[in-house]
């Protein structure tokens, strides 16, 4: 499954690993209906890294949950690795998930691991669910430890004994053991300190060489810019801008994107940025 070609130059047209078309999700009925996602369309090619940027309430988590089947879409289509999952029931979702094609890394490293289960058992769980034998699962788990720079002696520890950075790496490793084609990561580095953040981002960068498509969900453009091929900006449930990272950052079209770019703390923000941000905010709230 590894490819040496950078994801942005496919030699032949390949089927996208994820294709979302005109996706709509709403909560509540009639008067109390809240539209969370409005006609969102996005396509992820194999091996590419896409960052979905949005603030709290923009619908970014709902988008991830809809793609994973945890939330039902009210309209539109979701195609994962060629399968149209819009109308799937529980059993079909389970079958798809057991293929290990799509995985997820949670934001909170503390709560995404069962506190009473050892690291090894947590890592082996996706494989055991697939029906892999215990010995083989143990062997495959060990193979991935190296990738996330975890030492084998952590295997029989409980999550409570690990640091935040270590836990997040365990969560990433768990998402990789089934060798998925797509991994969605929800704010994977927001809860971490500087050193751990750099380490996780470096690990994720290395994953691209293996042809795994990555979707980063974050509120911070800055943390994603270094690893993403493309950026998609989600604002109030709508995808307002999509493009190559460099283009989106240097030539933002939508005022919200411009505000995002101007808001991300950089080392050399100019005094004029402040005035521009004020103007953009006024424009968006008009």
């Amino acid at each position: 499954m590894s490819t040496d070609r950078p994801a942005s130059q496919p030699a032949e047209p390949t089927q996208p690993v994820l294709n979302v078309a005109d996706l709509e999700v709403h909560y509540g009925h009639r008067r109390r209906r809240r539209q969370v996602l409005n006609r969102v369309s996005l396509s992820i090619a194999p091996g590419e890294t896409v960052g979905i940027i949005g603030e709290t309430g923009s619908g970014k988590s709902t988008l991830a949950r809809a793609v994973l089947g945890l939330v039902r879409a009210s309209a539109g289509s979701i195609v994962i690795d060629g399968e149209e999952v819009g109308s799937y029931g529980h059993r079909q979702w389970r079958a798809l998930r057991r293929r290990g094609v799509i995985q997820y890394v949670f934001q909170d490293p503390l709560r995404s691991l069962d506190p009473d289960v050892t690291v090894e058992a947590s890592l082996a769980e996706p494989l055991l669910i697939q029906g892999v034998s215990r010995q083989e699962a143990a062997a495959r788990v060990r193979a991935f430890l190296d990738r996330v720079r975890l030492s084998p002696e952590l295997l029989d520890r409980l999550p409570g004994e690990l640091s935040g950075g270590q836990r997040q790496r365990v969560a990433v490793a768990r998402a990789l053991v089934t060798e998925p084609r797509l991994v969605i990561l929800d704010e994977p580095v927001s809860a971490l300190d500087s050193a751990n953040r750099v380490q996780i981002l470096q690990i994720l960068k290395e994953l691209r060489a293996d042809g795994v498509a990555l979707v980063f969900i974050s509120h911070d453009l800055g943390s994603v810019a270094g690893v993403a091929d493309r950026i998609a900006v989600l604002y109030q449930g709508e995808l307002v801008e999509v493009g190559a990272t460099g283009d989106v950052i240097n030539q933002p079209q939508h005022p919200y994107t411009r505000l995002l770019v101007r808001s991300a703390p950089t080392l050399h923000s100019a005094a004029a940025d402040r005035a521009e941000r004020e103007a953009l905010r006024a424009l968006l709230h008009a």
Partner: protein, 338 residues
């Protein structure tokens, strides 16, 4: 009807007279005529001549008496009105302890075991509890991370700001309410009257932080400490809060101490930067100097993180230093055991 901004501005104008700082007084006068001026006019107050420091921290050392260990090994900085100092460091670097020492709220067993802190020229080491109470809010104030936990969820937020006004300025209920609404306006909240009557659960993180800033500046302090005040917020909201702090600094001459784990946040707002690691200040200097001429390897690491993984890479701004990947690797090796 003197509003907060006017009051604070006249006080600053009084200060500036003693300062012999021409440019400072000039900006103050402009501000006084339009109390609701937004940040359109950017003429930052940077006093050219030295003036009486509002906060001076000299070689402060803080120890954990229970463990018998010195945690903070010598921090030095000085704040004059309108200036801002930034402290960058990870958790455990000692930055929060330093701030708490200046506020007199060190946790149990922690004590200042060396150096001195002076607020407005007064040494705080011998202050009684009553003197501290008088000092807090009126001279030095603070906002922290996680705004929701600093407000009472069963009382409307407006009342909590009004409480500060009643206690610190002795205002009656109606006057306190009016000034509280003025304050909410001063922190750029869109509908101050509405926010006054809302509970914490009805407000977003960014709005709550503004409410806390309003409460913090209610008694017209000269120093505001923001300890990771924007860490829990979305990046656009963080920018709003930082812009607000910059605005307050300009309009009222508020001196700021900004503490963050993110070097860029500090760089955006502060004149001087201190980089702390494990209780020591590993680098200190004017922001421009620290960013362009980092001396310590840790500072270079922080800069490299932004260059490699942040927006700086794309924005084509003047290069700080070519990305030090070897610094990154050695630091990786150091942190492998983490």
């Amino acid at each position: 009807m003197a509003t907060l901004s006017e009051k604070v501005l006249t006080k600053s104008a009084r200060n500036s007279k003693t300062e012999q700082n021409g440019s400072g007084a000039e900006v103050e006068d402009t501000g006084a005529t339009s109390t609701t001026s937004t940040t359109g006019a950017t003429r930052p107050v940077r006093p050219a001549a030295p003036s009486t420091p509002v906060l001076s921290v000299r070689d402060i050392r803080i120890s954990d008496q229970a463990a018998g260990q010195e945690i903070v090994h010598g921090v030095n900085f000085t704040l004059t009105p309108g200036r801002s100092v930034g402290i960058v460091g990870e958790s455990g670097s000692g930055k929060t302890l330093t701030c708490r020492a200046t506020l007199g709220i060190l946790p149990a067993h922690f004590e200042v075991t060396g150096g001195s802190i002076e607020i407005d020229g007064q040494d705080i080491s011998g202050l009684s509890s009553a003197q501290w109470t008088a000092l807090r809010g009126a001279t030095i104030s603070a906002v922290f991370q996680d705004p929701a936990s600093y407000l009472n969820p069963s009382i409307r937020v407006g009342a909590q700001i009004a409480e500060v006004l009643k206690v610190k300025k002795g205002l009656k209920r109606r006057e306190a309410r009016r000034q509280a609404i003025d304050l909410l306006h001063a922190v750029h909240l869109r509908d101050p009257e509405l926010v006054y009557s809302q509970y914490t659960y009805e407000l977003s993180g960014g709005m709550l932080q503004r409410v806390l800033i309003a409460a913090a500046i209610a008694a017209d302090p000269r120093i505001l400490i923001a300890d990771e005040a924007t860490t829990a917020l979305d990046v656009t909201v963080q920018a709003e809060i930082l812009d607000l702090l910059a605005d307050l600094r300009e309009r009222t001459g508020l001196a700021l101490v900004l503490v963050s784990h993110d070097l860029a946040v500090v760089a955006q707002l502060c004149d001087e930067v201190l980089v702390m690691r494990q209780g020591e200040v590993v680098e200190q200097g004017p922001t421009h100097e620290v960013l362009h001429n980092p001396q310590h390897e840790y500072t270079r690491l922080l800069i490299a993180e932004h260059e490699q993984y942040g927006l700086d890479k794309f924005l084509g701004t003047d290069a700080v230093e070519p990305a030090k990947t070897d610094a990154l690797d050695t630091a990786d090796a150091v942190k492998e055991d983490a």
